[in-house]
Amino acid sequence: MTSGFLFFLFKRIINMFIVLFSILVLTISLLGPTMDNVIKDSVKYSVIDSLSNQKVEFKDITERQRYIDQQIKLQIKNLGLEEPWYSPNRFFNTLLKVMVLDLGKSNFFVSDSGSSSVKDIIIEKIPKTLLLFTTSTAVIALMGVYLGVFLASRAESKLDKTNSIFAIFSNSIPVWWFGMIMIFIFAFSLNIFPARSTPLTPPDDPFYFFDLLYHMILPFITMVVLGFGSVAYIVRHIVSGILQEDFIKAKFAMGIPKKKILYSHALKNAAPPIVTMIALGLAGSFGGAFTVEVVFDWPGMGKLYFDAIGLMDVPIIIGLTYVSTLIFLVTVFSIDLIYAYFDPRVKLNE
């Protein structure tokens, strides 16, 4: 741990907080008015609702209306809503509330445990998104690196050219469209996998997890098939550049086995760019993973996002934006750390 590395770390953390803060400010200022309306509406409904339960007698309809208006005004004042959303007091209040995911109740969604609090609903979805996303990324990275190094050792071969074409193709295909095609082939035509990835067994069933895994196969395959080609393509280019360096030729001359040179010496030197590449791709495919969830009805954050947009459930949308930003930033930050570990230049200066 040198001071250069600490400085690097410090800069990254500052960057992360600036991004998080600015996204929150943007989100709140875009959604603020809508959120206010949503809360005011719910106050109105609850006042009218409680009135009809209390059975209070009124002389005529205007008096009843006056009473309702008075109650609503009172409640709004209690909630601190009489100031506009952009007043500094309320703005920071909202900011803090979003940061601890205290976003009240969702109007349309219920978590598996029956709670309608936004926090519970979102927290329940996070592991499912991470399960699909991390497993597929890990497999993509492993397959891509292995294949890429293999292709670098036989550059310009037929296999290499095929992979280049495959990589370019898979980069221009939308993941979600490929997912729809996979559903068409494997669920409709061959009837091997279910078309919807939401398991039918209840979540407290002991076999729920296995059912979930079975339902995960199709989205998982979709992401891996479209992902590994371009990773292999990039790894191949980085490694084949390194294979032309003199020190590698010297190792060959020394009689070190080819496999060892490829997977140990060359790969180690190619690690920093490969790590950035995989990591950035990973961060980039985060959005893609959301759409894959939508296509397959995978019960994760992306699906929830999609449904919340359809029903305009503002608290859920704000919460999800915050959580996905957070996950994204943590990913990018950990990439930086790994990069710094592999590339000694970062530790020394900058």
């Binding site: 221009s172 490929f178 729809m180 095609i181 559903i183 961060a283 759409t291 996002y305 934006t321």
Partner: protein, 528 residues
């Protein structure tokens, strides 16, 4: 999001070369550089990459001949030409109303619902031998009129009453009866309502009178003088009339399914193939009455080159209109964001010091923005028009170019001619735009082409989530509707495959062209 990914990939592919550039700059002796820079003003960058870029752009012929030699480049150009052809066809070949009325169900009412393309019979496993959807019109001379199916119009005078007969001759050869049939008309009438009679002459010359009624003004779509009407095969009058003909059949027929009864053999349960003639007779009691047009629609399960969707829209039209929209989005987003990125990066690199530091901090912040959630928020609460979406995508698209052009500007600003013009007292803006940016332009062409697919994919993904411009048919929009209708698990392949293929092919075309430009201009970094 994919947009970002493409940008990142693009950026990463460059990283090694940029590193090398820097190394060369640091380690290589400066004497060589100075010689280059002074001898030829055009050869600015001291590495091979720069030399080749500038030399080749100056020599257009070499560039074109090298481009033509690359197979992938040619493939890209061919796909691009097809897209341009589709764009031209969209603007000149099909009525503009189809674009404006894309979301108006009334415009598409004559089409069948979820019909597969007419060529789906070639692949036996994709569709049954189902009848084609037939729209015969008395006025338009469309394709259906030119074949064996045709419309003839005759006017006779019976006891002082004008009788206009529209005869529809149909050659029916399918093994299955049509789904239904429908006759629509529009006419100009005076006070006495005209009457309409429909008779069908079957291949064995039997004549069935299937409908007779006077035309009362319809409630919808009529003003004082023009009456529009539709007679469906499920009409109760047809049902009643057909009761008289049940005796012709040797077996039990149902009058509630006139389309089956009218197209069946009389001896056995099968379809009677041959020439049918629908005579639609209008009895006009006033000399001023005029028949404007009439149509016979024979409901089938196959329609057009690309079939139809659940709202009866002709997918051919939607797919063709998608081409100009995709090209517009892709090219405008990539061009503008790369120009912005380039200027931004060059300013940072040229000015250096504090400016550089702060501009690059801002760039870093932009780099770590999660694209998809922000795009969702922005299109939800700012707007969804296609121009706004283009703006949003530019907002997230300029960072990669900024980094690359900054590192190139750092080199260029040390060359003697730049320092010379600084000494003369030229303003910074002039130096940036006259001396530095022109040197980067060749590199931009390749970057623009390579970043087009990212923009197209991003727009498609946004439309797919349901946040695209709803008033315009885009490929992403079509796929969004296909997903909402669960097309994949219902096996509606014609609704699914073509739009995605077009998105992929468009992206592919630009990547291939971009890669080829890059490898021609920069032979050291051959990619393909």
């Amino acid at each position: 999001m994919s947009n970002k990914q493409a940008d990142n990939n693009n950026n990463n592919k460059r990283t090694p070369s940029d590193n090398k550039t820097n190394n060369n700059n640091n380690s290589g002796s400066n004497a060589e550089n100075i010689e280059f820079a002074t001898s030829k003003k055009n050869l600015i960058l001291n590495n091979n990459k720069g030399d080749k870029y500038i030399e080749n752009i100056n020599n257009n012929l070499t560039f074109i001949s090298e481009f033509i030699r690359s197979k992938s480049g040619i493939a890209g150009v061919i796909i691009l030409l097809i897209l341009i052809f589709m764009t031209l066809y969209a603007f000149f070949g099909i009525p503009f109303a189809s674009f404006k009325e894309w979301n108006n169900p009334n415009y598409w009412i004559d089409n069948p619902r979820l019909a597969s393309p007419i060529w789906s019979d070639f692949f036996g496993f994709l569709g049954r031998n189902t009848p084609e959807h037939l729209i015969l019109s008395s006025v338009d001379n469309n394709d259906a009129n030119s074949g064996k199916n045709k419309v003839t119009i005759s006017t006779t005078n019976e006891n002082g009453i004008n009788v206009v007969t529209h005869s529809y001759h149909i050659d029916y050869n399918s093994d299955v009866p049509p789904n239904d049939f429908m006759i629509t008309y529009s006419l100009h009438k005076e006070e006495i309502p005209p009457a309409i009679e429909i008779e069908l002459i079957r291949p064995n010359k039997n004549k069935f009178d299937i409908y007779f009624d006077s035309i009362t003004p319809s409630i919808s779509g009529s003003n004082q003088s023009i009456t529009l009407g539709r007679i469906f095969s499920t009409d109760s009058l047809i049902h009643q009339k057909l009761l008289d003909y049940l005796k012709f059949y040797d077996y039990k027929q149902e009058t509630s399914k006139p389309e089956v009864m009218l197209f069946s053999n009389q001896e056995k349960r099968s379809i009677m193939k041959g020439n049918y003639t629908f005579n639609v007779k209008f009895y006009l009691f006033d000399n001023e009455d005029k028949i404007l047009n009439s149509k016979l629609i024979l409901g089938g399960e196959k329609f057009g080159l690309m079939g139809t969707d659940e709202l009866r829209r002709d997918l051919t039209v939607g797919l063709v209109w998608g081409a100009p929209v995709a090209l517009f989005i892709g090219l405008s987003v990539s061009t503008i964001s790369i120009v912005i990125g380039m200027i931004y990066g060059v300013i940072a690199g040229y000015k250096g010091k504090r400016t550089d530091e702060s501009l690059m901090r801002i760039n870093d912040i932009f780099y770590s923005l999660p694209t998809l959630p922000l795009l969702i928020i922005m299109s939800l609460f700012i707007g969804r028009s296609i121009f706004l979406i283009v703006l949003f995508l530019i907002f997230f698209g300029w960072m990669g170019t900024a980094k690359i052009s900054r590192s190139l500007a750092l080199q260029i600003k040390n060359f003697q001619y730049v320092e010379a013009s600084k000494l003369i007292g030229q303003s910074d803006i002039k130096i940036i735009f006259k001396h530095i940016i022109p040197q980067l332009l060749p590199l931009t062409f390749a970057s623009i082409a390579i970043s087009v697919p990212g923009a197209i994919l991003a727009e498609a993904s946004l439309s797919f989530i349901g946040l695209g411009d709803p008033s315009i048919p885009t490929w992403g929009q079509i796929l969004h509707e296909a997903h909402t209708a669960a097309a994949a698990s219902r096996g509606l392949w014609w609704w699914l495959i073509p739009p995605g293929m077009l998105i992929a092919l468009t992206g592919l075309a630009f990547v291939l062209i971009g890669n080829t430009i890059d490898s021609v201009l920069n032979p050291k970094m051959k990619r393909m």
